[in-house]
């Protein structure tokens, strides 16, 4: 168990450091999108789920309107509810730990917890990854936002081209099978086709509704 714990801590720190670097880009993009330093840090402290955070500030930054961004962030956050479902039997959290554990239910902690062969190791992996990632995610966000505030014109550094690259990096690991590849291609085309005819931000919601209908009507294999 001691060796197993050491391995888990090493993996968790690796993930947390990588996420901290990714949080630097979140801080920078958020600051460029017009959010204040406090708003940017609030998102990393309280929302604490990367894809939703990037989506909210990305949509706001692109002029898509705050509420379209909120809707997109919530739709992206839905997967965390399913992660929670998978984790609930492994973690068996009750009492005051439940609201704290809930905050840490994200891609990385779920992956680390379900990869273990014993519930005890799963719990350890979940908490260590959650705590380390939370610390570095917030430090990275602060660093990125502070660095960007010091810049005279973020567009000179190409920071307006950063959000698409960030979304692509989040999307790529989900494209290993044929079906998600087809869904991604269709979603990109549909979003661009409807874009000139609807208010900014709405193409995302059109795509979300269509994928919901597709998923609900298709038969599980």
């Amino acid at each position: 168990m001691v060796d197993a714990r050491r391995g888990i801590v090493r993996d968790a720190l690796g993930i947390a450091v990588a996420s901290g670097a990714y949080a630097i880009s979140f801080g920078a993009i958020s600051a460029t999108s017009g959010l204040t330093l406090v708003q940017t840090c609030f998102l990393s402290l309280v929302m604490f789920t990367g894809a939703s955070q990037f989506a909210l500030v990305g949509v706001i930054g692109a002029g898509g309107g705050v509420w379209a961004g909120v809707a997109t962030a919530c739709l992206l956050g839905m997967r965390n509810a399913l992660y929670g479902l998978r984790l609930s039997s492994l973690l068996e959290v009750r009492g005051w730990r439940l609201p704290v554990a809930s905050h840490f239910v994200i891609d990385e902690t779920t992956a680390m917890a379900i990869a273990r062969d014993e519930p005890q190791k799963s719990r350890f992996a979940f908490w260590v990854t959650g705590l380390a990632l939370f610390a570095l995610w917030n430090l990275g966000t602060l660093a990125g936002a502070l660095a960007t505030r010091a810049l005279p014109d973020p567009k000179v550094l190409g920071l307006d081209a950063a959000p698409p690259a960030a979304f692509l990096a989040l999307l790529a690991p989900r494209l290993r099978a044929r079906e998600p590849q087809a869904i991604a291609a269709a979603a990109a085309v549909i979003a661009l086709v409807v874009l000139p005819f609807v208010p900014a931000g709405v193409p995302l919601l059109v795509v979300a509704v269509l994928v919901g209908l597709y998923g609900a009507r298709s038969r599980p294999r």
Binding site: A18, A21, Y22, S25, G34, Q39, F42, V46, M47, T49, A51, A55, L56, G58, V59, A62, G63, V66, G69, A73, G77, M78, R79, N80, A81, L82, Y83, G84, L87, L98, A101, S102, H103, V105, K155, V156, L157, G158, A161, A162, P164, A165, A166, F167, L168, L171, R174, L175, I183, A187, A188, V189, A191, L192, A208, L210, V211, Y214, G215, P220
Partner: protein, 99 residues
């Protein structure tokens, strides 16, 4: 206005996490829900990539961001870390505008 959105979205995202850990399991075990929810990030992230690269407001445009996305895609294929993908994308756009 931004504050309201920030607070509402943060509370909703936390609520989704809390619901997953605390709601009765059978509520979320519908097979169609289990199949559909993982598709949503794929579709939304792809739509975000497309609209934030090829559009400004409600106009389709082709500019330095398209080249930036191409270079970022190469970085992804080469399994570069997240920050590198974002940095090469931004650097490509900056370089093209400078030239």
């Amino acid at each position: 206005m931004i504050w309201a959105g920030v607070v509402v979205a943060s509370a909703a995202c936390y609520g989704l996490k809390l619901a997953g850990l605390s709601l009765p399991r059978r509520w979320l075990q519908d097979p169609r829900l289990q199949r559909t929810v993982p598709m949503i990030p794929v579709a939304l992230l792809a739509a975000l990539v497309a609209t934030q690269t090829f559009a400004t407001g409600r106009h389709l445009v082709l500019d330095a961001r398209a080249a930036a996305l191409g270079v970022a895609a190469i970085a992804v294929v080469l399994r570069a870390p997240f920050l590198v993908v974002v940095a090469v994308g931004a650097a490509t756009a900056a370089l093209l505008r400078f030239l």
